[in-house]
Symmetry: D2
Subunit: 253 residues, 4 copies
Amino acid sequence: MASIEILDRSTMTERLYDGLVIDPGETAIIAIDMHRGHLDMDVATMPTKPEDARRVIGNAKRALDFARAQGVPVIHVILVYRKIPGLGSEGMKSHFWRALHELVTEEDRLTPGRRSTVNGHNLEGSPGTQIIPELLAPSDYVIDNKKRLDCFYGTDLKALLDTLGVKTVCLMGINTNTCVLNTSFTAFNHDFRVVVLSDCVGSMYGDDLHVLGLQNVARCLGWVVTNEQLIEKMRAGAPAQRAESRAPEKVPG
Amino acid sequence: MASIEILDRSTMTERLYDGLVIDPGETAIIAIDMHRGHLDMDVATMPTKPEDARRVIGNAKRALDFARAQGVPVIHVILVYRKIPGLGSEGMKSHFWRALHELVTEEDRLTPGRRSTVNGHNLEGSPGTQIIPELLAPSDYVIDNKKRLDCFYGTDLKALLDTLGVKTVCLMGINTNTCVLNTSFTAFNHDFRVVVLSDCVGSMYGDDLHVLGLQNVARCLGWVVTNEQLIEKMRAGAPAQRAESRAPEKVPG
Amino acid sequence: MASIEILDRSTMTERLYDGLVIDPGETAIIAIDMHRGHLDMDVATMPTKPEDARRVIGNAKRALDFARAQGVPVIHVILVYRKIPGLGSEGMKSHFWRALHELVTEEDRLTPGRRSTVNGHNLEGSPGTQIIPELLAPSDYVIDNKKRLDCFYGTDLKALLDTLGVKTVCLMGINTNTCVLNTSFTAFNHDFRVVVLSDCVGSMYGDDLHVLGLQNVARCLGWVVTNEQLIEKMRAGAPAQRAESRAPEKVPG
Amino acid sequence: MASIEILDRSTMTERLYDGLVIDPGETAIIAIDMHRGHLDMDVATMPTKPEDARRVIGNAKRALDFARAQGVPVIHVILVYRKIPGLGSEGMKSHFWRALHELVTEEDRLTPGRRSTVNGHNLEGSPGTQIIPELLAPSDYVIDNKKRLDCFYGTDLKALLDTLGVKTVCLMGINTNTCVLNTSFTAFNHDFRVVVLSDCVGSMYGDDLHVLGLQNVARCLGWVVTNEQLIEKMRAGAPAQRAESRAPEKVPG
């Protein structure tokens, strides 16, 4: 097995952390694919490791509860697939996923050592598409038509963030190195401030890609913070007049 | 310095490689940011390591020459920035890049141990925006308005690929873990077959993130091949009738 | 009242009509905002004229029934708004719609002589968001997160069309000169063949703009056909082998 | 020839005009396809009527000179086509344009009574792609990779507007009912305030579609103003502190 040295960039990332301001009044949490299809071992068709599921759900609940109490909106984005006659799930249009499906045994696909399937993953109406109940609150927004790896692709996420006046996005969810990383890239490209919550992400692809996903964000495009750091930064970033600054101009009638 | 074990997924990637078909008649090479701003140490404002620049230029030249001889179109996509009064370069609108600029010394930014600057990088008309001459042929297409990490973002790359009838994209260039990876993600999301040319990519951010970028592609969304493998696959993938299959319906008059 | 002469372009449009081929195997119907919020006078918050609603519903039902019988997929795209605390409906983020809301009486807004409201239009869960029942079949696809005038904007319509192998889109719905026309533009820009079904569209803004919408499509970007012409063209366009040509490559397992 | 009554919506549009504020500090002019390919009869391959060209150029020069004097940025967006081997111009990928090319004589295509060609229009390096010299100033921004009817499609226009802090776009150019209208739609969808400059637009497709294009904007999505009104609104909308409000946060070094 090859091993690789992680470059020490702490002098850079520490200075960047010191300069980070998270104003709850212009921040949203984006919770990515926090559904049973990844996180509930009873029904998951692309399961993370069970211990990752437990860790991520517990930490995400703490972060979400804190954020909601600060008035920070929470946006769930989840993948759901239609079945297309003659094709299978909408995911089967992908060359790579179809090749995996056709050529590789179920135990040796995306989730090493655990069975997974694109064609049977998160079909409309299946239990896998349900958001983990303890992570969902009535005030949350839900976007449930993600089709590929990027939460912005084919969804109204950008429009919703702009409507909410968001400038900083805090990302959590599954998988660190694909949907979270791809969404981080796109959020960066749209000039959002990108913060990835390291306690609240995990990867079904392997711990190495989880670590490298976080390294990639912290060294190239955004900030990686723990729950403790998130809370500290949100407390420090809240101006006294936060409540008003969130509110858009009032609508009469 | 932390070290991390790379998971061995060779049984999966070998089966995927065996199944890979690269038909030159529906393939394009996308050469990403192969400009002097990264690769010519005399003018680079975000330099790779000099030995990476030499390796990537040499290998890319061989791959491009072969591809062009097969009739495969080559599309260069490069980042060029306007200067905006009161702001600086268009890159300074990015929260992360601006924070780096303001908080971190030039030697400790994106390119560890080598000076770099976003605000001075690839301004319109500067030498950094020139494509490395030996990588550019008259028949190549050039897209020179990339502004962030994704070659598709704010460019006509998708339209050009569709106009050319491309289904498979082979990516090369700088940096493995940012522009190449971000473009791989988006190409995957658009249902292209994604092939990253490992001999022809490099990262100014560090070798660890270069390895990450390749691992992430090979295990999550596409194929990573050497020059030798590219040549083998292109030769095998060319049907006798390739020339016609590329040609769109004829235009009279 | 000003009156305006419509230019006679029949020699051009007739030749274009003669050359039009509609192959059911690569065609989809896009039914735009065929919901009660426009078409059911009991609940409509942006009502068309009642006689337009009757005409469009009746004709659309005939066209849809025919299309489904040919195996042509039907995609409903409808606008649905979240309520945003402090803002109102998501539509209130629009400068123009907000200005209308704040400055103009309900009877003199988008729908001349009939009351209308953006802020109360098609809120999540309201009856206005329901598709007119006789226009919806179990095999239809539904996209219900349209937020502005373009069916492609912030939705997965493009991805779904590509997944279905669609090259020709036939548009129906409300309003001829806004959502239908804007979607026609975008479909044209994406290089779809655009056909607007003149019997199945109408405009709450006025008959003049309905005529404009159709003229604009027929003279600048696509084809305008009646139900009778649609049926004729679909019958003529169906190759014997249609069933196979629709089917994507088979998926094992 | 059919004639059509234009609905009188003046009570609505007058109230909307009264409420319109154009703050030069957050406004940009978008000049659409103001090139010789439409406006210089000596080289135009899709010519407007000569009198429209004269009117539009003269009025646009006055509006642009005034705007620049207020510090309002001007962004030219123009269509330029590559030649693609085996296809012709990039425009020939469009089903509608190709059908016109193949089926209809040159005098009876898009520009009634005047010869036009998609396949020969605005090829890279041809004189048609040159912006009308009196409309171009050194401080203007130029985006020259528009490929279809929408100035946002496949370009970095959205990114540039955001970088400049623009909230209001004033549109001028050719053609009122296609590129100007399509760009108006997309700007509306992106929640810009849309203002179309009626003295500075024209249509090669016919006067009826020019009129209807303006009606469509004024009654459905934005404001239509004369040069005189533009000047009045810009003067009224400029706060004393305008200069600062434009300036983004300062960049050190």
